[in-house]
Amino acid sequence: MFNKLSILGTAVLIGLGTLASADSLAAERSELTLVAEQRTAWDRNFNPYLTANKRATTFQFIYEPLVVFNALKGNQAHYRLATAHEFSDDLKTIRFTIRDGVKWSDGEQFSAKDVLYSFEQIKKDPVLDTQALADRIESVSIEGENVVAIKLKNVDTTIANKIVRVPIVPQHIWSQIDSPTTFKNETPVGTGPFTEIDSFTAQLYVQCANPHYYDAENLDIDCLKMPQIATNDQLLAAAIKGELDWTSSFIPDIDRVLISANPSYNYWYPAAGSASFLVNFKSPNPGNREAFNDINFRRAFSMTVDRQAVVDIAGYGYWSTNQYASGLGEQFASWNNPQVDAEFGQYNRYDLEGAKQLLSDAGYKDTDGDGFLNTPSGAEISFKVIVPNGWSDFVSTAQIGVEGLQELGVDASVSTPEFVTLTENMKSADFDAAFTNYFGGATPYRYFQTGFHSSMADKDRFGAHHYADPELDSLIDSFTKTADSAEQVKIMQDIQYRIGANQTTIPTMSTVYLYQFNDKRFSGWFSEANPQAVPVVWPDQPERLLHVLALKPR
């Protein structure tokens, strides 16, 4: 999310003396400078279980995952600590074959017992269960020498993605820790590529290669360097000076501000999830409810959204317009059902006149003379589009959308409640309209499931249109019950049709993964020409391990 509020503040003129010494060090060993999190000060904390304040280089770089699923390549599995995984025939057990010959960074032998131990950990204390898996796993056991079998409570073919995000920790260390929830793990022991904390201050730390890394031959970088950067503006200033190699932050007008100032910099913004306006079918205000339940109104709403302006202005041209009637988005283009666009695409393109025509044909006119349209029954339409406070790019987007609605003659405005309040209101159907983002992923399943399954309406903001379609629900459910890809595509296309025909959502744009890189010191960067995997440096992107292994010092 790059809608983080940024403050003014640029980084620093570095003392000339230190700059020189830093350069000479960098010459001796290859240091990759990255910004994987933005904070005001570093705390020495490498506890993988802490959601809030562990250093962002903990996952993947210290704790090697079992498998990395490459979302960009349809969830292709890159095996790491595991060498294979498979579902049982009834889809209720998933088995991981554990790699031989891996050592912990302290030289101890790594084995399936450590994996077992790690899964037992998450059952001990809910705080350790960062992936919320404990309730979904029946049991974990070792079969034979090196196979870990995880028995599930319910069939869920998408669960592997979560399972591989459980940190695999050394039993011989963690069994000694009394309170894993407050342990700071200052000198971590892991199986990942960078386990040695070389230096650590509140403003900078360097994390160097694991002497016992099993995949050392593919690792060409000596150390990771993490300068403390708090704001996007500081990051930009440091980037202009060429101090950073790998970042995933928001930079306004990047061509003008960064690339023109430092040509060795480059960027690639692959498509991520989508974002849409949605209306609340159960709006507490009768007039709004009448309008929102009228497909003509929803279509007219969709036709007033100037998607190109959203992309250009709110998104700095980084986003792309989302004109898929189901809101599918650019990321899932390969799953697209072209029939949906053929039939309903016209309602998802900017067409103010068409929208006006649609509404007047449907009987909307200004009956009370307040300058705004009323419903066919004469009720008043007046609503606020809510967006979380501080998500400034979304606020701009909502403002552009509202501008269109006002052109149409609809009394709409933007409101920016606190995130918590917004989520609460959306879950409890106590709102009129909203602008929200959606999950991306390797398949559109998570997008449809969280956004359109009626059981999710009161669970989070994504499904808060509160429109229930039992057939749609069963279509979505059926996706996890099959492992047959042709059937999966068929299901997805049916889902798209149902949503598109109903105009349940008002698709607006596809967001992007942010990724900038400095070509000067390293080569092998993923890019549009070399689209290996999602190249984001943030810790919730396991593919970054693949990326770091692909980089070569120049």
Binding site: S6, L8, D233, D253, R256, V257, S392, V395, E403, T416
Partner: protein
């Protein structure tokens, strides 16, 4: 009121008045000065100043001058509104404490003193954060409700001094009810001090509003000078080189503050003739009160400091 006459008679005050009036007129009659809506895209993003957009455009392609003019409405309204709320509360607390004295005074004075020692900006930030999406109205109300203590203390002290005057006793002996003594006999005598406190409160409120909104604690869809700064910093206007977006609201805030300060400078001189120049006539009186005055001036400047550092 002759208060206005006094203002106009002082050169600094007249300059201040003209500056403030300029911004008041600019914002009240904004549609006369700008053809653009402050909330509509009217051009491409970040256009530098030109004949068409004399102060350039924002990231959202909105006209900066239109935002400045329309934003002045809200910013000034918040400033004057919060200032008025401050003064009403300060008068309420100050006169009540000063006139009735005794236990009433002790309770109210403790309230004032406690309000004075709780750091205000952090408190406001926390309040605004907890309330969330603080609209200009909400900001005006929370500023008003947390900033009255200093003025109340000054008004209280002055009330106590006036209460000792014989015309108050005369009114009491005449049988005038307490509310009438307070409103008709005492209040008009406080006008200059209330005027000064009001101007101070307006300056302070405008500064506070801009600060809170800049920090992202306001309603980002509002059009105010503080929100302009917020949007400016949000879109990294400084780094992009869109200096017009930084300068315009900064100058407006600084100018209005300066105008009001000049007005207050005059009010200070009016209230304390010793600061202008004086010959013989009242010197003996001055001298008697001198030691006391200096210590009190110190005390007041302490209280004034409270208002200032933003």
């Amino acid at each position: 009121m002759n208060f206005l006459k006094l203002l106009l008679g002082n050169r600094k005050a007249s300059i201040g008045l003209v500056i403030v009036l300029f911004f008041v007129v600019l914002s009240v009659a904004a549609p006369l000065f700008s053809d653009y809506s402050p909330t509509k895209r009217v051009s491409r993003p970040h256009q530098s100043p030109s004949a068409e957009h004399i102060m350039g455009t924002t990231r959202m392609g909105r006209d900066v001058f239109a935002q400045l003019a329309y934003g002045g409405r809200t910013s000034l309204a918040v400033g004057f509104g919060a200032g008025a709320l401050v003064i009403v509360l300060a008068i309420g607390f100050g006169i009540t404490a000063g006139y009735f004295g005794g236990v009433v005074d002790e309770v109210l004075s403790s309230m004032m003193n406690i309000m004075l020692v709780i750091p205000q900006l952090p408190l406001l930030m926390v309040l605004a954060a907890f309330i969330g999406e603080a609209s200009p109205l909400v900001i005006a109300i929370i500023i008003g409700c947390t900033s009255w203590a200093w003025s109340a203390r000054v008004i209280r002290a002055q009330t106590m001094a006036i209460r000792e005057k014989e015309f108050v006793s005369a009114a009491q002996v005449l049988g005038e009810p307490a509310w009438r003594i307070i409103l008709v006999e005492i209040l008009p005598n406080l006008i200059s001090i209330i005027g000064a406190a009001f101007i101070g409160a307006v300056i302070y409120s405008i500064m506070l509003e801009a600060t809170l909104e800049f920090l992202g604690l306001g309603d980002p869809t509002a059009v105010t000078w503080g929100i302009m700064l917020y949007n400016m910093s949000n879109t990294s206007a400084i780094l992009i080189g869109a200096w017009w977006e930084v300068i315009a609201p900064c100058i407006a805030i600084a100018m209005v503050g300066a105008g009001l300060a000049l007005m207050n400078f005059a009010v200070d001189e009016i209230a304390n003739p010793a600061l202008r120049s004086h010959t013989g006539l009242k010197r003996w009186k001055l001298k008697q009160a001198q030691r006391k005055k200096i210590l009190e001036a110190g005390k007041q400047s302490l209280a004034k400091q409270q208002q200032v550092p933003l």
